[in-house]
């Protein structure tokens, strides 16, 4: 698979993301601590520019041992939110938190010699 360097790893701070286009291919690159993940910038819902959306933590309901609710709060999961209609995707898995079958297309990404490389289709 052809690979292309899209920038320096040091340019992307922890928790940040950027979106690049290489020809027709658009890719979102996300830094999660020391790890980098990348997904195609195409939402499985209606093809929206999902990676150009905002990052939010997931939301969970606070359920007590007696099954009563204490409302909602942010979880530790990092999500990217598609700006078209709000589909969210867990950045670790690329999957929709409400239906794991709905997922972003992962793009192989690696860091070498301080550079971020993504695979592009040949």
């Amino acid at each position: 698979m052809p690979e292309i360097m899209v920038g320096a790893a040091s340019e992307l701070a922890d928790g940040e993301h950027r979106i690049v286009a290489v020809g027709e291919l658009e890719v979102g690159i996300f830094r999660l601590g020391d790890r980098f993940v990348a997904y195609e910038n195409r939402c499985p819902h209606h093809g929206g520019p999902v990676c150009q959306g905002k990052l939010f933590n997931g939301v969970e309901e606070i359920i007590m041992p007696d099954q009563t609710s204490r409302g909602l709060r942010f979880s530790k999961e990092r999500h990217v939110v598609c700006p078209w209609h709000g589909y969210e995707f867990n950045l670790d898995t690329g999957r929709h938190p409400g239906d794991a079958r709905v997922r972003l297309r992962p793009i192989p990404v690696r860091v070498a010699d301080g550079g971020i490389y993504i695979e592009t289709r040949g």
Partner: protein, 421 residues
Amino acid sequence: MTGSRGDSPTSAPAVRELEKITIRSDTRDVLAHAAKSARKLTDYFIVDIDAHVTETAFWSDITDRIDNDYLRQAAKSFRERGGSPPGLLNAQPGMSFQDMFGRIPHQQQQAEAVSGEGTHRQVELTRRAMDSMGIDYTVAFPTPMLLLGMHPQAEVEVALGRAFNRWLVEELLPREPRIKAMMYLPFNDPDSCVEVVEEFADEPGVIGFTVVSTRYRPVHHNSYMRLYAALQAAGKPLAFHSGFHWGDESMKQVNRFISMHAISFCYFNMIHLTNWIINGIPERFPKLKVIWVESGLAWLSFMMQRLDSEYMMRTSEAPMLRRRPSEYIQDMYFTSQPLETSNLKLAQATMEAIKADTQLLFASDWPHWDFDLPTTITNLPFLTEQAKRNILGLNAARLFGFEVPRHKLAQVPGPEPALAK
């Protein structure tokens, strides 16, 4: 608009940086992916029966057009309040959760730059969206005014409704003939509705009239018969544009916006459609065309079956009807958005039941959070090519008399009925 960030770190191919989408993003950037799909639909005639303006962004221009000097001053006085709230409007801005607390920037605010003189900001925003989606004509509806039917002061609905109509007719429609409008009817005051029809029916660009459905008024009440007669005589369709109201006693039982929004947009149109049919309004005004806007389609299979079942047992309570309720529904028009597609078999059955190939009208609802694109229709696997073309624009062309450019009139050979695979 988005451009290259600079040189690629490798020689070729070039790496372009794409910007994150914010409230300041250009509509053409937000909809860049839609524009790519639209390039494959250039020989489709596409009419967007339901797109929205954000009237509060131009609220002074609208309220300056209020006839009544007392109400005009009242609206004006709000401009000196902190935050300049839209005076006289009853929407609850603190509970408008459509943008999911910032997750959907274009619903939060369209704060993009609009350069150049000579056109209206709203016209430019609408054009950008239309061109991105490949839309030939669009019909402009308001946004927070969709709740105006719940205003406790009928005279305020009359004043704001007429002012909004004038703003559309004076500011928007003359500047862009591809933008059309269905005039706001202040339905809490039946006599004023008739005056609106008389005043605006012949205005260029006015293709019908709208009742915003979120209200507690029985559409079969005798006080509305003059209005329906006037609409029928004018030959202009009547749209019931649905909406939500979390303050409704039933809706107060649900604790999340998702629940209220999902039910509310169907709930109000369910009530009005039931009254409309059971009281035989289609028999009394057989030439009056009715469009049900922004309730999606899933509610219709329920309504058709439910009303038919009860009608066959309790026919004595609906003596005006000569056919089953579902058959009247098949004569009505519906807009497609928000199209429910999680179960395609149900979607197909519903489209067949309502005779979508002649009665369904594409709508985007842009710039709202649950908008649809023309590809929402073209991607449906069970529609014939002709049905897609009808739904996207040719049905609207027939209903409203739009002229269709020759190259978009493609007749696609296919089995009848058009929906059959």
